[in-house]
């Protein structure tokens, strides 16, 4: 098989049983990868509250060398939302999983004690780590990496949860190699239910390409074209950001920062200061528009707390806004003033506070579904602004997601070039259905 690896790994945490399975070509051709494939596998596996599983699915082009082809998706049943949620993982977890030889990873059962899963191209094992309970994601990464040689340890890609994921909460998110995963609120708690503290992957297998020479030419030409128009691209992005008027974002991303990219990404939209990730555009928007935080120090303090506890900052902002609005109309008995980070931090540290229930639970409990929709729509509308100039952006973004590409690739590379790269990599034609 080309492009894909054609295999899935199934791990049962209850008994440590590990099994390799072949994935049918039909399934891969019809669902391609990403959330689409993860959700279909979840349906076939009959994932539910009683039979919960974590499903990881790489994109068809993840790790092949197509620009921005680094994404992998993770899905699981989130009890507080009564639905299967799916979130994209950035950086290099997806490519590394593929280098282990798998497009899909299925994790079922519940470990008898806290553990982490270590996967290579030779074996997969469940390692008990009872002492890791309460560890921050950064501490977990340090413990895992330091148990190997420096060079090997640095090449291990890790997803982990913090304290928030260990308890029933709607905010428990995932952290991958130090980066908080936006929109993963609740998925961290699925890890927690399974007593799975982290997944570490390190593989060395090849990803074979069907028409490698054609593929190389397509990518080389696309990069040449990108170099010529990169200034125009960054100008467009700056114009959009200027129109959105986000002073907090400008302030945070100003000064001595290092740009960091996911695998094969020429855009490099992630920012670090002194080795630590800074909140990205979506998070700064959520903090400033939903929580009304205007001060950079407050925003960074809150983001730092999210990192330490493994809280999805988007879920936190949505839930925080819900509480602000519900308190305003006297529905919820909670003190949360817009822009007051101290109150918010106190609510985060109080594990019995309503904040930990998450936005969906609050909407249902207080019959405020419309309020939740309005809040999430606000984030979506802002994100859509960036793609306003692209025809059928919604459909194209869905295709890119299945291919394992970042949606921002649409701003930098023509859609038809990406489709041609898919065909050269896999040797298959891509049929896009509604």
């Amino acid at each position: 098989m080309f492009g894909w690896q054609g295999k899935a790994l199934r791990v049962n945490l209850s008994n440590g049983f590990v099994e390799e399975e072949l994935i049918s070509e039909n399934l891969l051709e019809n669902y391609v990868g990403g959330c689409r494939l993860a959700k279909e596998v979840a349906r076939l596996e009959e994932v539910s509250a009683e039979k919960n599983k974590l499903i990881f699915a790489s994109g068809a082009l993840t790790g092949t060398g197509v620009p921005t082809g680094a994404f992998c998706s993770v899905a699981g049943y989130v009890s507080l939302q009564e639905d299967i949620l799916c979130a994209p993982l950035l950086l290099r977890f997806g490519p590394e999983l593929k280098c282990c030889g798998y497009d899909v990873l299925i994790i079922e059962g519940k470990a008898p004690e806290w553990c982490y899963l270590f996967i290579t191209d030779e074996e997969a094992k469940v390692i008990p780590v009872a002492e890791m309970e309460g560890y921050t994601p950064a501490e977990i990464e340090e413990v895992i990496r330091s148990s190997f040689s420096k060079w090997y340890g640095n090449d291990i890609r890790i997803i982990s949860i913090g304290k928030e994921g260990e308890q029933p909460s709607g905010l428990g998110g995932l952290v991958t190699d130090g980066l908080l995963v936006n929109y993963s609120g609740g998925l961290g708690n699925v890890f927690g239910e399974k007593r799975l503290k982290a997944i570490a992957v390190r593989g060395t297998l090849d990803i074979k390409l069907a028409k490698a020479a054609v593929f190389q030419k397509i990518i080389t030409d696309a990069i040449k074209d990108f170099r010529e128009k990169r200034n125009k691209l960054f100008e467009t992005v700056h114009t959009v950001f200027a129109r959105l008027e986000l002073p907090l974002s400008r302030e945070i991303h100003h000064g001595e920062i290092e740009k960091k990219a996911c695998l094969a990404c020429p855009i490099a939209c992630l920012h670090q200061r002194e080795g630590k990730f800074l909140p990205n555009f979506t998070v700064t928007f959520c903090f400033s528009e939903l929580l009304e935080i205007e001060n950079m120090e407050d925003a960074l303090t809150l983001y730092d707390l999210c990192e330490k506890r493994g809280i999805d900052p988007v879920a936190l902002s949505v839930t925080g806004r819900m509480l602000i609005e519900l308190a305003k109309v006297g529905k919820a008995d909670v003190t949360l003033t817009p822009g007051d980070t101290k109150q918010l931090v106190a609510l985060i540290e109080d594990e019995s506070s309503l904040l930990h229930k998450g936005g969906f639970w609050l909407a249902q409990h207080y019959q405020s579904e419309t309020l939740l929709q309005d809040i999430t729509k606000k984030i979506d509308t802002t994100r859509e602004e960036i793609f306003a100039q692209i025809e059928e952006a919604g459909k194209k973004k869905a295709v890119l997601e299945a291919l394992g590409l970042c949606p921002y690739a649409l701003l930098a590379f023509p859609y038809d070039v990406i489709i041609k790269a898919f065909e050269a990599a896999t040797g298959k034609a891509l049929e896009v259905k509604e």
Partner: protein, 139 residues
Amino acid sequence: MDPRDYRIRVDTNKCTGCRHCEVACSLAHTGDRSNYHRARIRVIALEDRFLPLMAGPYVSITEECASKKLVNINGFVYDQCVLCRASCPNKSIFKEPDSGIPLKCDFCGFRAEGPACIQWCTSGALTLIKIKPEAEEEL
């Protein structure tokens, strides 16, 4: 092109750690497979920046290895071993993952268009320069 006439200039201020150079290298050398673990260039993450390193020749390290010095870059102190291009038993990088054969950068001498890593580097961190007896000329 004759690889002996060229050098790859690395600007660590521009490298974003995307590792596209690694994928390009593996694809150029294997012909039909993407696998950054086979690359002859590896991007090392230092405290404050990324450092792309080309694989040098294999050396059998000894107690007297010269790479035991400390190097100061931008106020950060690094073990020179980190910056050394050589493949040696102390480093697991720069070897074929399956056979363990040490790898060496050949400047893609077999490709008329020059090194694949430079072609796919979009950040401008890697550039090809021609070495002349009198001066360096950027291509």
